[in-house]
């Protein structure tokens, strides 16, 4: 490259440059502390408008008071000093979006943090948007296959649903979310994983796991780490959902996971208290309900007229010592369309995923379940409910009639079948085959400790022998009489060879 070439290019660039003159609204920093700046002036600023500080830091105006503006700073605030000039940009906070973002890790402002180079984006989406209205929506009727037996059978999730995953620390909340992402391979789903206030080591582990499972090919990770300022944690879920909306606008189905919203609420509480908003219950500000409702309301299924596509949201909330009556858990439970409740006791009993089937519900998902699954799951639910009722009796020993004993044995086997190791999602047709065998009583005389072995063997065996049954489930989502007969025969054959 010659010097002439560079000079020519520079000349061209400078010729292209035109500066527009406009009056700018400015303010001056009165005080800065803990990621918050109080600024005078800025008389015409809008709520949640972006502002810039002299060293290029960005901020967002949150508190508009009589003669000062409370601004949350989204970058390092150590260089901002009193008297600095703050410029209003006239824009609401936006994040860059593009198809190139898939497979990347970005921060709460949509900037890459995985060291794989700048993400080219020609579009930006505002992070705050009003949720789609009633006219544009469609009821939930397509399933999200999580690959987890207990969820797909008993607490099914539909596309466009908001299903809360709630439980104490170390009960496998994130594991369920990650398994669900891993199972979306080939399901025509884009996944967005929003990590709020998590340890960077945990995020790294998740990223590696998703890469190994080939899931990063359809996944975006948005991260606001625990070492970053609270304002970033506060905006991260909105950034995530904006990215999700970008894909939904292309008519795609999107799955978004917020891990977790209790940390999000804590970050918002920190900001609110620093902005001197009055604290309410548990010191959360008065609008903490709206904080989550406006976020989760953006999950939806749109009808074809408005471009189709859906956003399914799986928010995660961490409880303290199983207390679901705390402020944030009750709020989010009431916003979402059901919850998956995980319990420490079950986890340590070896029932993993530690889903409490009695307390978990899915308010809209059953409409989205495939017909075959609905058929087997109906009996399964009943079996489990009766088992729980009778479980207390079983403590007292032997004097039980045969029907009760049978119920108990069936229940034990049901619990055993619903156990599933991590990172081992199961296709829905296999789930149907196993649950069919269970609910029709084929496992009743298999010893409980051998159930796992039986299940694995059965899947292998039937998959080869009952191609027709499997094909029917995949294609028409229900078996025919012929298919059922084939499966029955195969199960009996397998059982007679199983010792």
């Amino acid at each position: 490259m010659s010097t002439n070439y560079i000079v020519e290019n520079l000349k061209k660039e400078i010729d292209n440059f035109s500066s527009q003159i406009k009056a700018e609204k400015v303010g001056h920093v009165l005080e800065v502390f803990d990621g918050i700046a109080k600024v005078s002036g800025l008389s015409d600023i809008k709520s949640s408008e972006m502002v810039t500080f002299p060293n290029g830091e960005t901020g967002v105006a949150l508190n508009l008071e009589e003669d000062t503006v409370g601004i949350i700073i989204l970058d390092d605030f150590s260089k901002i000093k009193e008297g600095d000039e703050v410029k209003a940009t006239g824009k609401i906070l936006e994040v860059p979006v593009s198809d190139n973002i898939i497979g990347r890790v970005v921060n709460a402002l949509g900037v890459e943090i995985d060291g794989k180079g700048v993400i080219k984006a020609d579009k930006t989406y505002p992070i705050e948007k009003v949720a789609p209205g009633v006219i544009t929506r469609l009821s939930v009727d397509k399933p999200v296959a999580t690959g987890i037996k207990v969820i797909d059978a008993i607490i099914p999730i539909g596309r466009g649903q908001r299903e809360l995953i709630i439980g104490d620390r170390q009960t496998g909340k994130t594991a369920i979310a990650i398994d669900t992402i891993l199972n979306q391979k080939g399901q025509n789903m884009i996944c967005v994983y929003v990590s709020i206030g998590q340890k960077d080591s945990k995020l790294r582990k998740i990223q590696t796991r998703l890469e190994e499972g080939g899931a990063m090919a359809y996944t975006v990770i948005v991260s606001a780490g625990s070492s970053e300022p609270a304002p970033l944690s506060y905006i991260a879920p909105y950034t995530g959902v904006s990215i999700a909306e970008y894909f939904m606008d292309q008519g795609k189905d999107v799955l978004i996971i917020y891990d977790d919203l209790s940390k999000h609420a804590v970050a918002y509480r920190e900001i609110s208290l620093l902005l001197r908003r009055p604290p309410g219950r548990e010191a959360f500000p008065g609008d903490v309900f709206y904080l989550h409702s406006r976020l989760l309301e953006r999950a939806c299924r749109r009808n074809e007229e408005y471009g189709g596509g859906s956003i399914t949201a799986l928010p995660i909330v961490e409880t303290q010592a199983g207390d679901v009556t705390a402020y944030i858990p009750t709020n989010v439970i009431s916003i979402t369309d059901g919850q998956i409740f995980l319990e420490t006791d079950l986890f340590y009993k070896g029932i993993r995923p530690a889903v409490n089937v009695g307390l978990s519900v899915s308010r809209v998902g059953s409409k989205a379940q495939i017909k075959a699954m609905k058929k087997v799951a109906g009996t399964l639910k009943l079996d489990l409910a009766q088992y729980r009722e009778l479980e207390a009796f079983a403590q007292f020993g032997s004097d039980l009639d045969n029907a009760t004993k049978l119920q108990l044995e069936r229940g034990k086997r049901a619990v055993e079948v619903l156990k599933q190791p991590q990172y081992a999602p199961m296709a829905v047709e296999r789930q149907v085959a196993v649950l069919y065998a269970l609910t029709k009583g084929y496992m009743d005389d298999v010893p409980v400790e051998k159930i796992k072995e039986f299940e694995d063997g059965l899947i292998n065996y039937t998959e080869n022998k009952t191609k027709k049954f499997y094909k029917e489930i995949v294609e028409t989502s229900m078996w025919t009489d012929a298919g059922e007969a084939e499966l029955k025969k195969a199960i009996e054959e397998f059982k007679s060879n199983f010792n």
């Binding site: 400078i14 500066s19 003159i21 406009k22 009056a23 005078s40 800025l42 008389s43 009589e66 003669d67």
Partner: protein
């Protein structure tokens, strides 16, 4: 008790002292100071005075404009500026406060309350820099 903002106090002072004679003003001044002492707001008085100044200027149709330039401005330019600013802000009177700053290199920078019109060479060079090193 609702809290009183400095702006409210300044506004109140302006309203009571509007169109009053000299003797009356003395009385009012005394009362205002007593009030500030009683409410322990005396430390806020510089801010209140500044706001009062702004209110008086506003009511009188006056604006104070800060102009920074690299070199001293010619009289005709000043006149032109004043007519332009009068029209833009629909004010009767414009008070120019001039400041010299060689670092601006050239052009002028006009500051009216919290609005800034930056026409300096320094600003243009900065913008050119941003333009040239922008991400493509």
């Amino acid at each position: 008790m609702a809290t009183l903002s400095n702006n409210d106090i300044a506004h109140a002072i302006y309203l009571v002292s509007k169109e009053k004679t000299h003797a009356e003003l003395r009385e009012i001044n005394n009362k205002v100071i007593k009030f500030l002492v009683r409410r322990r707001l005396l430390s806020k008085s510089p801010d209140i005075l500044e706001r009062l100044n702004k209110i008086i200027n506003h009511e009188a149709g006056r604006i104070v404009v800060k102009i920074q330039s690299a070199r001293k401005l010619k009289e005709e330019i000043k006149k032109e500026l004043i007519t332009f600013l009068k029209k833009r802000y629909k004010m009767k009177e414009v008070i120019l406060k001039e400041e010299l700053d060689e670092k601006l290199l050239g052009g002028i920078r006009v500051e009216i309350n919290d609005e800034i019109i930056d026409l300096t060479v320094k600003n243009k060079i900065k913008k050119l820099q941003e333009y040239l090193i922008r991400k493509i």
